[in-house]
Amino acid sequence: MAKSDTKKMTASKRPEDPGRRDFIVIATNAMAGLGAVAVAWPLIDQMNPAADTLALANIEVDVSKIAEGQSITVKWRGKPVFIRHRTEDEIARASATDMSDLRDPESDQARAEKPDYLVLVGVCTHLGCVPLGQKTGEVRGDYDGWFCPCHGSHYDTSGRIRKGPAPTNLEVPPYTFLSDSVIRIG
């Protein structure tokens, strides 16, 4: 009853300002909505990586013990990181590749700070399996780099995607050479 009365009043007695009450209602609802979002955000954001998870974010590795043509896998942020001491032939093939042959064009120089050592996150950019090719004797795909058995992605000797469903090259993690033999990843 009160509601229709007020409505009538706004409509008839204040014809100059019919939208005023609507505005108040909309503004109130908008504030309540903002409040709800502000409350919901911490509840969602708590799912993001916690401070201690972020703190574990870098490691140091001695690469001098990796023989030419061998790879090691280290764990960084819970993921495998591939470090490969490449052969001359692998480096030559990686840098000779024509950019127009690549799905995700990137030169080998841009991917390996020192061409001898290739550092890659060993996670297929399709759906996250670990590609094969680290151990001697494993399948290495059509381009002699890595091969992901999950849905058949082939990576070349620079870790670039050449064939299969993966959209992008194997990621190169941020790393720096602390000395000639030690790198810090992260």
Partner: protein, 408 residues
């Protein structure tokens, strides 16, 4: 007023204040059900039973389970070896999950065949698809809990699906993981959600049933009951018929649990999770295989993910794709053929989803995927216009009593 219905004074006292008995009584006796339901109508009750079994065994399992990457695998092994009856409880939980999906798939195809998704049952159908989605999420997260190789890599591949979303994909995946890979935070939240979601499902089931009781069950000939002569009360007629189905269901479940408990699982899940090594051939649980085949059929990452979710999305809009006024396939000669083709297509997709993604399997997956969408998006709308349907009987009683009185 309705309290007089009950003989027991305690029941009468309670019902006067809290009319739960009247409500149950109303559903049991006053709820008219078409008298021609066949055994396909058992599967709703069986789905409810499955959910109850899952919740009961799950709560019991949770009493001995530890959601931590260092302890989860051992906790499940301890359940299997040391906890009293633990092996049986876990095998029931594992196998009943598969049975739940069998039952729900039959329930869904029943709906497809008899046109149960059509007006006025659109919301009932949509709530069913919502339940199906929630079940898939629940089962997926449950499968991660034992923290075996398949748990870990299944979780990795499925959560990575979201990375296909442009721009925000990677942030969403990090949010889901709570880290930079599937790890302890992921396991913890999956346990939390795996515990919660079955109760959400139970809530949606209540809505599903409220929607069902609004217009009552559909039936094999798909026409509305024209009066009391076409219906019988749920109790005792259908409670008894459901008991038969329940007995068979429990018999088969017991057979699986006691004789082939691991037949529907994957042996690699008895190897503890190793984040540095992917198993040579990863497959999801069998009930996801058709969708997995669709995902892999598309050579493009985003496209594959979209099509996979699209395969379920079409079910939501099905009531508006199939506009034929005739519900039951019994009176739709062409629709019936296409129904069986769709069923075969779904089975073929399931088979292909379990095969390696190369060579002929990829080609076949593409054909089967194309057919799936063609069925819903092209064939059904066309059939609704061009198909000549058979004449419908005047009432549910007519085909039975009209043909031969003795056979009824």
């Amino acid at each position: 007023m309705s309290a007089e219905k009950f003989q027991n004074p305690v029941v009468r006292w309670i019902d006067h204040r809290l009319p739960v008995f009247s409500m149950l009584d109303h559903e049991k006796y006053d709820y008219p059900v078409p008298k021609n339901l066949n055994y396909m109508w058992n599967f709703g009750v069986l789905a409810g039973l499955s959910l109850a079994i899952m919740i009961i065994t799950g709560i019991v399992l949770a009493m001995s389970y530890t959601a931590h990457v260092d302890y989860a695998f051992d906790a499940v092994e301890r359940i299997m070896r040391d906890v009293n009856h633990g092996w049986m409880i876990r095998y029931i939980h594992m196998n009943a999950a598969s049975f739940f999906f069998v039952v729900v798939y039959i329930h869904i195809f029943r709906g497809l065949y008899y046109g149960s998704y059509k007006a006025p049952r659109e919301l009932l159908w949509i709530l069913g698809v919502v339940i199906f989605l929630l079940m898939m999420a629940t089962a997926f997260m449950g499968y991660v809990l034992p923290w075996g190789q398949m748990s870990f890599w299944g979780a990795t591949v499925i959560t990575n699906l979201f990375s296909a979303i442009p721009v925000v994909g990677d942030s969403i995946v990090t949010l889901l993981w709570g880290g930079f890979s599937v790890d302890n935070p992921t396991l913890n939240r999956f346990f939390s959600l795996h515990y919660l979601m079955p109760f959400v499902i139970a809530g949606v089931v209540v809505l599903h049933i409220i929607a069902l009781h609004r217009f009552g069950s559909n039936n094999p000939i798909g026409i509305d009951a024209s009066g009391p002569q076409d219906t019988i009360s749920f109790h005792p007629y259908y409670t008894m018929k459901d008991m038969v189905g329940i007995a068979v269901f429990l018999l088969l479940l017991a057979m699986a649990v006691f004789f082939f408990p691991n037949a529907m699982g994957h042996p690699d899940n008895y190897i503890p999770a190793n984040p540095l090594q992917t198993p040579a051939h990863i497959v999801p649980e069998w009930y996801f295989l058709p969708f997995y085949a669709i995902l892999r059929a598309v050579p493009d990452k985003l496209g594959g993910v979209l099509l996979m979710f699209g395969a379920i999305a079409v079910l939501f809009v099905l009531p508006w794709l199939d506009r034929s006024p005739v519900r039951s396939a019994r009176f739709r000669p062409l629709f019936r053929i296409f129904f069986w083709l769709l069923l075969i297509d779904a089975v073929v997709l399931g088979y292909l989803g379990g095969k390696p993604a190369d060579g002929i399997y990829v080609v076949l997956s593409r054909i089967a995927t194309a057919w799936y969408f063609l069925h819903f998006l092209v064939i059904l709308p066309l059939l609704s216009v061009f198909e000549t349907t058979k004449p419908l009987p005047k009432s549910i009683s007519e085909p039975v009593l009209g043909a031969s009185k003795g056979a009824a």
